[in-house]
Amino acid sequence: MKKILAVLFLILCCTKIAAAAEPELNYTSFGLLPVLHEGRVKPLDSFARIMLREFSGRDAVRGHGAAEWLAEVLFDPVSAAETPVFEITNPAVREHFDLKLKKTLFSFSELAPGLAAHAAETQGLRDANPDNLTAQQQTTLRLYDDVAIYSELLRSFSAVLPLGIDAPPAYGTGKTENAYVDFRASESKIQNDAAKLVRKKGADTAKYTDDEKKLASLAFALQEIRTAGVNNGTLKIINKNGQWISPWQSLLQNGDLKNWQDMAIAYRSGNAEGWRAAANAVRGKTPFKIYLEKAYNITAPFPLAMGFYLLGIIILAAELYRKSNRMLFPLLCLGFGLALHVTGLASRIIILSRPPVGTLYESLLFVSLICAATALALYLRRKNLVALFAGQGAAAFLLFLAPFLLQRGESMEMLVAVLNTSFWLGTHVLCITAGYAVCILAAMFAHAWFILRLKNAPARQLHLLYDSIYKTTLAALLLTGIGTILGGIWADQSWGRFWGWDPKENGALLIVLWLIWIQHGRIAARLNRMAFLAAVAFLNVIVALAWFGVNLLGIGLHSYGFITGIALALGFFCAGETILIATLWKLNAEKTRHALA
């Protein structure tokens, strides 16, 4: 509550000094500034994207990118307070805060009065058990938290932004615009003199001379800014001997904020060259990881890869339709897609210094890679066109799903202790996710078999495909079986028990047992060819349940990826697949019956 008032004051204080009109500034250098956030040093570009996504659910606001938006927040808080950036989709919440109901994006100054009015009752919500809150209450709490962070960001550089107060000549610094830092040396003198003034003439400013009025307002402004800034540690952007601190923390430790002040001045006057130079001065030598991450942010390799895979499939379908055999373009698409995909994952490994499968999101990235890569390998080995469709299709679909599994903007999280640095964990996860990929491929092949048979594909093609499926299920068994056991070994090394019947373990085991079951069913001649293939096709459901369903249960040692709202999607998928497979099987069975009749 106090924070909101402090910021409002700051704004009132600086109302004369909104920044110059729309500067044409380049944000490359700014975006490369390193900042410590959530346990990891990242480029300001990433930080900006995460923050913007957190507040607004979008990647750009008013046509400006995240970095541009953040620059405004930091160096022109007056304007930033007017920029609509907080998304409120729940109409009940909007009404609660007396907001115009026509839109969903609100600015800080639009929200401030409503938030201040309801601050006390919200405090009560904060103390309650999070599980007992309604959706509206949770949204409200989150809004308060977001606004609190925003207000901290607005004030990050309050020490170097112009005060908008004319200093009395006695305390002048010789500059036209003064910021808090400029008065640092003389601050105690100013406060003392102001106190003396109050003792001499009382608190009523009507009795003061012009100069005395300026002194009083200067002293008051300095005091307010200092009080508001002292605890501001949100933007850890200054590296002091390996420790990352905020501008205010640096100032209180007698650090030099000159470069930042230069940046602020350059930004506010639209001085593109000065802006760039100041940012470079602050940056110093930028580590490779920061460059890499920024490039990663801008390129967005995974959506691009997904695009190439889809394009590849479309061109391939077109070529087949025209009965031509030109594989160059489809293969080029697949190749580009794979290159982007691999580069994206490699970048993540370098940036995060760990294997690329620590979170659910990452497992999707990896499984899709294996799908696409195996598809290519199978095509190159056996000219298996079905593989190209199945592999690229699955890869594209999984990449499409991936962003939905990110709870917040941050896709590069640091993991909890138990998931770090372990040979067994790394091999376990890589093995089992590769296993998922191969299972999915086998399942897609089985679907293809049913469809091709209905379309009267030549017997030879079907036979080759069946052979492929059989071998793929064996490979799947190898990978998932070994992967599951490696998981047990990791658990033994970490917790002292090889197998604990916990949901993730059970899920993996389910896949393995299913694969073993269908193999033995086939050997014992209890499953005929089509039953076997239907069971292989059903692997899609089993893998989906083991991979995602387990996280929904939210229990056991593996609940480090809790997802909300995926349950429905998963349910639809499983139901849909089951109906599809049953239908394909039935249709094929009927076809056989008709053929025999």
Binding site: G39, A417, N420, T421, L477, I489, L510, A524
Partner: protein, 362 residues
């Protein structure tokens, strides 16, 4: 006669070992997996595990169904007979045989673990030492006569009436994890039971945090007769006097002792900079065994193995005044078999896959 018996044996063996066995046994096992997993939400991991997987039979209402031990046991039997009697070695079958063999070894290790493994934990505050192990789940009632242990009864063996001491101890209520509530009703309550009552609550997320407790009544001691409560970590044990002897009643997690002592020199929690997410925990300890001392370090994912005990960094306790490490301690004679089994299974599957890829479908 012998010929006929041998023939019948063979037939039986074949029936057990053919591929049909896994075909019929695996679906119930898969269903069991699903049921046992879904049940963990409402029941808790440990209870679901005991009911579905570490059992021979479990009941859904009036219907008995095969539990984990039964199904896995049958599968193991089938696999054993298959491997012993029906697994000739040829290039074609080498991979399959090895895979089966590997699974058998894995299951054998599982048998050793299921029958012999012990899991407990130790809590050691910094700069102190301990040799006591506490069981995560087992509770025991201890009765001391003049400070000498007279009897100890494990939780699940606590019959309603305890005898063997010069008074009757009748168990009213046992809770594996109790909540202490204000005593609402009146009655002949003694000691802390006068104003506190124990209520059973679901198990806590961390099993070390469970508070076991017992409500019981004493008869045969006239003035001391009445209802008492005992829970883990009670400041004073229930003390009764009978026949000029002093009896102390303690209820808590089952304790055992290590044949050596562990001293905690320092506990460290490393966090990610700028957050409070833990990056790693480690305990610098000293093993004190028979007059010899030497330091060792236990970290997450890096346990200490000594004399058949494996010590894992499990968790920690922190108050304003002190830090304590919580180590989980496992004894498991079957612990090497998963590694051996993995090697064999990997070899087998790779071999078989290579064979099949050469074009010959089995």
């Amino acid at each position: 006669m012998l010929q006929k018996t041998l023939q019948n044996c063979r037939k039986l063996a074949l029936a057990v070992a053919r591929a049909d066995a896994p075909f019929y046994l695996l679906p119930p096992l898969m269903l069991l997996l699903v049921a046992g997993t879904l049940a963990q939400g409402p029941m808790g991991l440990y209870a679901a595990q005991k009911k579905f997987f570490s059992s021979f039979i479990f009941w859904t209402g009036p219907v008995p169904l095969p539990g984990g031990y039964t199904l896995i046991g049958l599968i193991a039997l089938s696999l054993l007979v298959k491997f012993l009697a029906f697994s000739e070695w040829s290039r074609r079958r080498a991979g399959i045989n090895l895979s089966h063999f590997g699974v058998l070894i894995l299951l054998f290790g599982g048998l050793l673990t299921a029958t012999g493994a012990k899991e407990s934990f130790m809590v050691i505050p910094e700069d102190t030492e301990s040799r006591y192990l506490y069981d995560y789940h087992q509770r025991t009632l201890y009765i001391f006569e003049n400070d000498v242990l007279k009897l100890s009864k494990p939780f699940n063996e606590l019959k309603l009436r305890i005898t063997g001491v010069p008074f009757d101890l009748i168990v009213q209520n046992i809770c594996s994890n109790c909540a202490i509530v204000k005593r609402a009703n009146e009655g002949n309550y003694h000691g802390m039971a006068k104003f506190m009552a124990l209520e059973s609550t679901p198990p806590s997320k961390e099993p070390e945090a469970d508070l076991p407790g017992l409500t019981f009544s004493i008869a045969g001691l006239k003035d001391q007769d009445g209802t008492y409560i005992a829970f883990e970590g009670m400041p004073e044990p229930i003390t009764l006097y009978a026949n000029e002897k002093e009896y102390k009643i303690i209820f808590g997690k089952r304790q055992s002792m290590l044949p050596f002592t562990i001293r905690l020199s320092d506990f460290e929690k490393e966090i990610y900079p700028g957050t409070d997410k833990a990056r790693g925990y480690s305990s610098d300890i000293v093993i004190v065994d028979n007059g010899l001392e030497w330091p060792a370090r236990i970290e997450m994912n890096k346990p200490l193995r000594y004399k058949g005990y494996t010590f894992y960094q499990s968790s920690f306790e922190q108050t304003d005044k002190m830090q304590a490490t919580i180590l989980s301690v496992v004894e498991n004679k079957g612990r090497l078999f998963p590694y051996i089994g993995t090697l064999i299974i990997t070899a087998g599957l790779l071999l078989h896959l290579a064979f099949v890829m050469r074009g010959r479908t089995a």
